[in-house]
Subunit: 305 residues, 4 copies
Amino acid sequence: MTEIAPLLSHINTQCQLLFGQGNVANYIPELAKIKPQQFAMAVLTVDGETYTTGDAKTRFSIQSISKVLTLSLALQRYGESLWQRVGKEPSGTAFNSLIQLEMENGVPRNPFINAGALAVCDALQSRVSAPLHHYLETVRQLSGNSKINFNKAVSRSEFKHRFRNAAMANLMKSFDNFDNDVDAVLSNYCKYCAIEMNVVELAKTFSFLANKGVSQTTKETFISRKQNSQLNSLLFTSGLYDAAGDFAYRIGMPGKSGVGGAILAVVPERYTVVVWSPELNQYGNSVAGLHALELFAKEMEIQLF
Amino acid sequence: MTEIAPLLSHINTQCQLLFGQGNVANYIPELAKIKPQQFAMAVLTVDGETYTTGDAKTRFSIQSISKVLTLSLALQRYGESLWQRVGKEPSGTAFNSLIQLEMENGVPRNPFINAGALAVCDALQSRVSAPLHHYLETVRQLSGNSKINFNKAVSRSEFKHRFRNAAMANLMKSFDNFDNDVDAVLSNYCKYCAIEMNVVELAKTFSFLANKGVSQTTKETFISRKQNSQLNSLLFTSGLYDAAGDFAYRIGMPGKSGVGGAILAVVPERYTVVVWSPELNQYGNSVAGLHALELFAKEMEIQLF
Amino acid sequence: MTEIAPLLSHINTQCQLLFGQGNVANYIPELAKIKPQQFAMAVLTVDGETYTTGDAKTRFSIQSISKVLTLSLALQRYGESLWQRVGKEPSGTAFNSLIQLEMENGVPRNPFINAGALAVCDALQSRVSAPLHHYLETVRQLSGNSKINFNKAVSRSEFKHRFRNAAMANLMKSFDNFDNDVDAVLSNYCKYCAIEMNVVELAKTFSFLANKGVSQTTKETFISRKQNSQLNSLLFTSGLYDAAGDFAYRIGMPGKSGVGGAILAVVPERYTVVVWSPELNQYGNSVAGLHALELFAKEMEIQLF
Amino acid sequence: MTEIAPLLSHINTQCQLLFGQGNVANYIPELAKIKPQQFAMAVLTVDGETYTTGDAKTRFSIQSISKVLTLSLALQRYGESLWQRVGKEPSGTAFNSLIQLEMENGVPRNPFINAGALAVCDALQSRVSAPLHHYLETVRQLSGNSKINFNKAVSRSEFKHRFRNAAMANLMKSFDNFDNDVDAVLSNYCKYCAIEMNVVELAKTFSFLANKGVSQTTKETFISRKQNSQLNSLLFTSGLYDAAGDFAYRIGMPGKSGVGGAILAVVPERYTVVVWSPELNQYGNSVAGLHALELFAKEMEIQLF
């Protein structure tokens, strides 16, 4: 088997060649300020080894990767009944489209498109008294860093430009699929997205995905074995918006991307992989991040199927 | 580990309780004639053991499961360039919708919706001189039964009611994504769908999927290791029409269903599973078949993720 | 020529036979309270004669008919530049759909679907300091009744159930096609819709449409001759949601309906016709109202083309 | 009132200034061969006077204007029952879209989009034994020129590139809304579109529209007074594809355009107007033709509303 440390170093070199091929997220001013040509990668083995390359101490906005945690927290509280609020199917449309949402009577296709994540946040808000506090405490425990926080300028900027998401939430409300005040939920949603971590902290936070539901940081079961397997299946079919099929084809792992430039990928019972590079392709996925994962899968001969 | 033989027997008993909950395919008269309350299941291990239960010698129309073979044959000839003709993304819409096809300029979302399968058949027809003959020969070799054939009454009935598929093919032709005569391709397409096998023959035919691309019947590489892994990824994200996400969530295996009532499922490097029962749910998937696979996955503790 | 008075009497009798064939609007509780089996009709000639039948003194919610006045007021202030904010084309979709709005980048198809009316209200709000006051004053002058007001219970109920409209306004805001605070505009929009008039007052209010832009009440030019002609053209192509074509075919006049059960119709240079009956068909148009106008057009031999 | 002859001369001069602003139809090679910078206009009064300007003897492809005649012939035979096959509503989408057709179960929105015209041709074909012969005879009688014919090269080229239309016809067939052989209907449809006339002949052919249904050439009732009024209403709401609303707003007459560059417009009980200039705008309507009609409406002070 390939050694991980030199492989990551090689991947870093290769990925720097792609700098300039994408664009940083610019839909909110604060995110557009990021320095584009950055790269970091972390591999956490289920045995507890950590390997990194690049700017592994630089923190970044986790953005949509936060949706995986929101979903996990909601599944803890709702179990199967959560699926009355949101579907499990790939959407086949852009992450922020309202078309399908209207045609399917306000039930979002899956929890990883924006509408679905908002419905899940709303569900969580209905059952947790101080959801932001609880969310941050969970992230701090899972990541092993009690100082993790959200970036106020980013969350404020996201909230200021919340209209598309507000449209979705209101549309769901018109279909009786949104219980709380729209702005109250959006305010928390923007903060979850604005949480900042580095690649190692992010890998630790989601280490339960590769580890049968048990966090490698806390050693405790975060979600059940079965829920964990199901969550990975959902990430496989729907984790990368309307590029999920291509990701499954080329890289073949459960994964989740964020417009902050991070991608989380899972090799069940082996690795939690996080890669980060801010330049995005047309689908909102990190250009260098995708290439890094493709190289990693190829060299490590990871073929889940 | 659970013993397979008694498990299949148990599954058979359980599944018979579901008889009457679905409806046989009725979009063409010939298929509507089938006796509804039938059930069969076969498990082929990569070690070559075969286990069956139910009407395992009864042959049935493989219908859309034929799309997996068409795709494999086209990948053999085109490799990556095939993806210029058809996408790799879940469709998020019904298997026979033209809406997405028009909005995406005649490039079907994936090779398992009808439009995609037709594009693949057209591609195959362009590079194989006698495609029907070649297709049948391949099926006969892979299944190990030289008598496998298509049902003439079924293929004729499908061709007679080909208008929806003809609409798709013509729409692709208007976008220069269909090369051959529409009726010539449709004629073969209807015959591929009308091929009849029993559960064991069908499992053998697709044994390469669980076996790194190597047919367990011929012992030869049918498609490359990498292509096989990619094909399984595509089946995982798009094999069950717009119920793919639910199948991934509940059963968690690459799979492909057909309106003849069969479902093919793959446990990589372990089993090729085929289940058949003609009554379908609203998504066109076998009611008893889905339940059988769910029981199998649960009792065998199959969790790929 | 047919005498108007006996014709109206005949129409009243005929229309009462249709009672029970539709349903009153029920999307907000306050509107659902209305007594269903009511009917009134008024014909105002350009010579100043008024003919009525039925409950001609009963006031009702004008609902979407208010959109004609909002548009007129906005055209007074913006002229042709208003059409940068909203289109002039029939929508081909339901009055409250967001699908087209998303696909056409936040520019509503026309000013009579909800999204278009909201954009026009927003435009008006940007150029009128006290829009509600101005709107009410205008209605009072045009109707000749200084006591016209909106129904507080209805406007409050509409505002409470504003989520679908809020979704549209937020979606337009995300495309930079909505300037003011969403709730501030919606609050006024709900009040305009909740204005109550009887059939005579409503006919007087819109008498300018049949009279080359000159109000028959104030004797003043309300909008220019050309704008008036254009406004009637828009009402002809888009005034009855996705039943506009059928209305044009069967009745052949510019018209506008509201879910309060009223329909306004224009016979240029001859009559302003208002009919009201609360039971609606599946398209949200008054069942008896449509029949009344069809009888009126037939007996008066009105064929604009 | 403005004198017509000098007005047409003025319009001709003005319209030549627009040469170069559009593009000739290029979706079939034969149509793309036309010389772009041509202009002709004819006004036929209901008193029988004819005024022309420009290349009034040059014949051109009438293209979609043929749909008005197909519809008239079908209405003669089916009356109201024709509307079971095709709707009366504006489509809100492009003339050759299949999306709405699929969503509305194979019933085209109106008879002027391609799908609707094909359904009407199919209906006509079911009730007329030699439809092409009958169509040509009708055109020859109405135009007063027994030599009118279709251009074989154009109809052949259209048939060769028929795939989009074939997709629509097949989709309707899959919904049981198309009775005859697809290619048999398409073959005639392409010939109707390829009929060649000059502006005077075209005005004469459709003189019944301005004349209460009575042809000015044959002096006979072609369709009933009521059908004629209804037909004009349909032309007003749906005659110019998805620019119908703008045409109604700016020009305010019932009208029909064709990609050959002609536009037919009707001033009821006054004029039949035909203008032709091959350069088209993005909606497939003649650039100079639209301008000519706008000038004509303005100078003649035509305001139907």
